[in-house]
């Protein structure tokens, strides 16, 4: 049986929902215009993912296989609605920016995918770690992609942080002053290209590591 370390590694890197499973692409591509938007949706998704994994794992012995999918859908839908209401109440500005993509977390395949593939077969603590790792892995991709597009598109970073942390906090950085902006990065094609580059970068790092370990194994033999 895999250790907690393995589970965490799966979610954050080896089986990252955004970069490897390529699940939940619709929100991933749509809201990553800025870093803060990405972070906001990432956190909301993580909360839903942890909640649904916990609930699914907790009831895994009670639910017959024939009705498990409708039960999962019900759990996820009610969790998402609760998170949506909470965001509307406590992060109203962010809620308005993210708009339809909060209720659309329901349709994020990562969540039902983890419920079916992991949480329904594993004890509660493991399901929790899996949900947390998958959620953080997804959030990381959203944040990195958001930062790339924001920096290239508008020349800022962390614009709109006050939506999440209150009006007193302005974290906006302007690494490139007086920057005209690159339209391509802001528009939807920028999201696809950016994600493509991220997937390529991940594969390149993996390939390099593999080569390194293969050559060190050879040396050890020699």
């Amino acid at each position: 049986m895999s250790t907690y370390r393995d589970i965490a590694r799966e979610g954050l890197w080896t089986n990252n929902p955004g970069l490897v499973q390529l699940l939940g692409l619709c929100p991933l591509l749509a809201v990553t215009g800025t870093t803060i938007n990405g972070l906001g949706l990432g956190i909301a998704t993580t909360i839903v993912l942890i909640g649904s994994n916990l609930a699914v794992s907790f009831i895994r012995h009670a639910v017959h296989p024939e009705i498990r999918i409708p039960v999962f859908v019900m759990i996820i839908a009610s969790l998402v609605t609760a998170v949506e209401l909470a965001m509307n109440a406590f992060f109203h500005d962010l809620y308005r920016v993210l708009g339809i993509f909060i209720p659309l977390i329901v349709t994020n395949c990562t969540i039902i995918g983890r419920a079916e593939a992991f949480a329904s077969r594993n004890p509660v603590p493991r399901a929790f770690v899996d949900g947390l790792a998958m959620g953080l892995g997804f959030t990381a991709v959203l944040v990195v992609l958001g930062a790339m597009r924001e920096l290239l598109g508008q020349g800022t970073l962390l614009a709109g942080a006050e939506m999440m942390f209150g009006a007193a906090v302005d974290l906006t950085l302007q690494p490139i002053p007086a920057y005209d902006g690159l339209l391509l990065a802001v528009l939807p094609p920028g999201a696809f290209i950016g994600l493509g580059l991220l997937v390529a970068a991940k594969n390149w790092i993996d390939a390099r590591q593999q080569r390194a370990s293969a050559s060190s194994a050879k040396e050890a033999r020699a």
Binding site: P70, M74, F90
Partner: protein, 219 residues
């Protein structure tokens, strides 16, 4: 009934009860959250509404409850709206100051442009703000107040003489700037604002019936 049949019915019943139980728990969770967040959400929405109204008419220009003092006009076609129009009214010391209402420019480059505009009782514009649009980022979005000062150009303007000629972008021989690379967006906005002013003049009596009575009685 065979044993097999009864077993099937039994498992179906268990499944149905389980599903119903989960539906109830899920529904309960949503109802509970709704219950806990309801007041806060209503307050947030009121505050967001007030903030957007105060962008157009600063708080020290009026003294009534701007958010809830509204009149509803049934016909919104003059504003390109197919729903009744909600007009917010501003008063100071009981005297009308301005009306704030939505207007739509249906002919934007990327679809309709939704705006909120405020008109003072003397017919001058208090301000215009774009609330929702799908214009091209970087080209058409200087109509947003956080991207450029362009929208401030409307403030203080009124219909005046020859509005059909003057209320145009420069490319059409009018007085309003267009942006580099985008004429369609500012043209749509300018024309919609003009229609909004015309609408206000046409419906003044319906928006401020109190003053209409006064003027008619003093005559």
């Amino acid at each position: 009934m065979s044993a097999q049949q009864s077993r099937l019915i039994r498992s179906m019943a268990i499944a149905a009860v389980l599903l119903a139980a989960f539906a109830m728990v899920g529904g309960g969770l949503v109802a509970l959250t709704e219950q806990m967040t309801r007041d806060r959400i209503a307050e947030n929405e009121r505050r967001a509404r007030l903030a957007s109204l105060q962008e157009i008419l600063p708080a020290d220009h009026y003294d009534n409850d701007l958010v809830s003092d509204t009149v509803e006009l049934a016909d919104g076609t003059g504003l390109s709206l197919d729903t009744p129009v909600m007009v917010h009214r501003a008063f100071e010391d009981g005297e009308p100051v301005a009306a704030i209402f939505p207007v739509v420019a249906p002919d934007g480059y990327g679809g309709p442009i939704h705006m909120l505009m405020g008109v003072r009782v003397d017919g001058r514009l208090a301000g215009v703000r774009v609330t929702r649009h799908s214009e091209t980022p970087g080209l058409g979005d200087p109509i947003e107040v956080r991207r450029s000062d362009w929208i401030h150009d409307f403030e203080g303007r009124s219909l005046g003489e020859e509005p059909e000629k003057k209320w145009q972008v420069q490319a059409d021989g009018g007085e309003f700037d267009q942006f580099t690379g985008a004429t369609i967006t500012p043209r749509a906005v300018v024309r919609a604002v003009r229609r909004g002013l015309v609408y206000f003049e046409a419906n003044r009596q319906l928006i401020f019936p109190e003053t209409a009575e006064e003027t008619s009685s003093s005559r």
